[in-house]
């Protein structure tokens, strides 16, 4: 990926002018970023290396590499239910993200392409959710979910996650739509397409790039969501990974190396997803400019 476009001639010219100062600043810049990279990565690497030890070895030398590799820590962590938690996370994330994207698409379409009474009000109504702390809604939400009889089900995580993700995805998609040319839509309308037809056959295909980005960002948010899962889920069979990892650590108490193995297993899906889809991630960030 090349986000950076450089003009080689300028660069060459610049190099010549202050070559020595350049050498030094380059040295310090690299040094700084190498240190920062170590700070960013080493905690996980430390957990990873220790996850192969026995608890006693962890107590004795947590710096060193394991002498023999205790893969059984991973087997135990897996057997204890990490797999189940990850599966639940996949279910909740995929469904919540898709519902959210569908609703956001429609809302963004209306807000970006129609003139109607109350448009600004509704825009603020939806975007206002960006600023609200979910904690404020926690206790009433809890009672609403109970009344709807969906407490302690997947839906108890999916619906609040959709509601609190919707403002951002709507904002993201709407911004993108505002930048799209109207030619295709106008052509489709002349051909007699209904609003739904325009939406489905013109807008959705044009929005694919931003949809991918929005999905990834939203997936990351839902995947990592903690408070709703903590409050609205009791059954171990329904717990998502962030919560499951916590009960896992609680239940295993002092078996730290197994807990560490669980941490690593839990961290891998998102790391892999990110490394595979950096481009969509960064485009989404660039378009949204907002953090979760």
């Amino acid at each position: 990926m090349s986000l950076v476009s450089t003009s080689e001639s300028v660069r060459a010219d610049y190099f010549q002018r202050s070559a020595r100062a350049r050498q030094w600043s380059r040295f310090f810049a690299y040094l700084l970023f190498i240190i920062l990279t170590i700070v960013a990565l080493y905690p996980l690497i430390w957990v990873a290396t220790n996850s192969f030890k026995t608890d006693l070895q962890l107590f004795e030398h947590s710096w060193s590499l394991p002498k023999e590799w205790h893969w059984e820590n991973y087997a135990r962590a897996w057997k204890f239910g990490i797999a189940k938690y990850i599966l639940n996370s996949v279910i909740v994330t995929v469904i919540a993200v898709l519902i959210n994207i569908a609703i956001s698409m429609m809302a963004a379409f209306a807000l970006a392409r129609y003139q109607f009474r109350g448009r600004n009000l509704l825009l603020y109504f939806i975007l206002g959710g960006l600023m609200l702390a979910p904690e404020v809604s926690l206790i009433p939400l809890f009672r609403i979910l109970t009344t709807l009889k969906i407490y302690d089900t997947y839906l108890a995580m999916i619906l609040p996650n959709v509601a609190f993700g919707l403002p951002f995805t709507t904002f993201l998609i709407r911004s993108y739509m505002l930048g799209l040319p109207r030619d295709y839509e106008e052509a489709a309308v002349i051909d007699g397409a209904s609003p739904l037809g325009v939406f489905w056959h013109v807008i959705v295909p044009l929005c694919r790039p931003i949809l991918a980005s929005a999905m990834l960002l939203d997936a990351m948010r839902v995947w990592n969501e903690f408070m709703f899962a903590l409050t609205f889920i009791v059954s171990d069979n329904l717990k998502t990974m962030p919560l499951g990892l916590m009960s896992f650590a609680g239940a295993l108490r002092e078996q730290w190396t197994v807990v560490m193995a669980g941490i690593i297993i839990s961290a891998i899906p998102m790391i892999v997803l990110y490394l595979l889809t950096q481009k969509q991630f960064i485009r989404g960030l660039a378009a949204g400019g907002i953090k979760g």
């Binding site: 970023f33 905690p43 209306a110 009433p140």
Partner: protein, 299 residues
């Protein structure tokens, strides 16, 4: 068939497209906020769900509750430190990475690596750092000992003086790389000619940063500042996972205290009042941001 006629009425089309979003937002975001205010006027608990009307008593209690004061102080600390690292430092790092000193390929590598912590789940991060902060076997104290700084060793999460800072530090570790990428995106939007002409005028990197980069990413800076500050008041999960507000409420923040009061102290009504306080704070911050944003446009 009135329904199909309604559906075919073009004036209604945008509303129909918006309907699901409005319903979801109304049910799961706005209705709860209103209900919350109502609940805050009563005394009730999860175990004994009889509602006793107490008027504004719960709000009165907020004013006299020392733990609310500690929580607010911690939220403010969270905000100030986060703005420094996640806005200022992240901007400087972004400028260095985009400043031609580091080769693009390495720049992209560093960027990705620094971003990585932000994709991790809060429990992964929290438990990892709990292990790192452990006084005996933890990485941090061993490191300090190893480099001859043994006198700095602390019970990081167990000491009332260091607990909240230790938690805040983890947030910085997790989010600086994320914000840095946002700034990189903003810097890339700055026309290259501006830097070229500055260089021809003999401006060094620092003065390029102050005179070109900083003013031109002003909008991103403003947005990031607001979001970071509001985020600092919303914080719940990392505190809950790492210290649960302890020891002796030293690392309590509003979100955490609210949860504790509701589901540990059996005081749902009081928790609802704390939630209202949180709502008012975020609302005011948003309002301030909108005003600042507007004045920014005028300049």
């Amino acid at each position: 068939m009135t329904i199909s006629r309604l559906l075919s009425d073009r004036r209604l089309t945008p509303y129909l497209f918006l309907l699901p979003a409005i319903l979801v937002m109304a049910t799961f975001v706005y209705l709860p906020i209103i209900e919350n205010f109502y609940y805050s006027l009563f005394r009730w608990s999860s175990i004994d769900p009889r509602f006793t009307f107490v008027g504004l008593n719960n709000y009165q209690r907020i004013l006299n509750d020392p733990i609310i004061a500690v929580s607010l102080r911690n939220n403010v600390l969270y905000a100030v430190i986060s703005v420094f690292f996640q806005v200022f430092i992240a901007l400087v790092l972004a400028a260095i990475l985009e400043g031609r000193v580091i080769r693009p390929r390495w720049g992209s590598f560093f960027r990705n690596m620094l971003f990585l912590p932000s994709v991790l789940a809060i429990t992964v991060v929290g438990i990892t750092w709990q292990l790192i902060y452990r006084p005996d076997t933890g990485l941090l104290n061993q490191f300090l000992e190893g480099v001859g700084l043994g006198f700095l060793k602390r019970t990081w999460l167990g000491d009332e003086g260091t607990a909240i800072y230790s938690v805040i530090a983890v947030s910085q570790w997790q989010w600086v790389g994320y914000v840095m990428i946002l700034f990189i995106v903003a810097i890339q939007a700055i026309p290259e000619e501006l830097y070229e002409s500055a260089r021809i005028d003999g401006a060094n990197l620092v003065s390029q940063f102050i005179h070109i980069t900083v003013p031109l990413v002003r909008e991103t800076t403003l947005v990031m500042t607001t979001i970071t500050v509001i985020g600092a008041f919303k914080v719940f999960d990392i505190v809950w996972v790492m210290t649960a507000g302890g020891p002796n409420h030293a690392s309590e923040v509003l979100g955490n205290y609210l949860y504790r009061v509701a589901f540990r102290n059996d005081e749902m009504g009081y928790a609802a009042a704390i939630a209202s306080l949180l709502f008012v704070i975020t609302f005011l911050l948003t309002f301030v941001q909108l005003r600042l944003g507007r004045s920014g446009e005028e300049v």
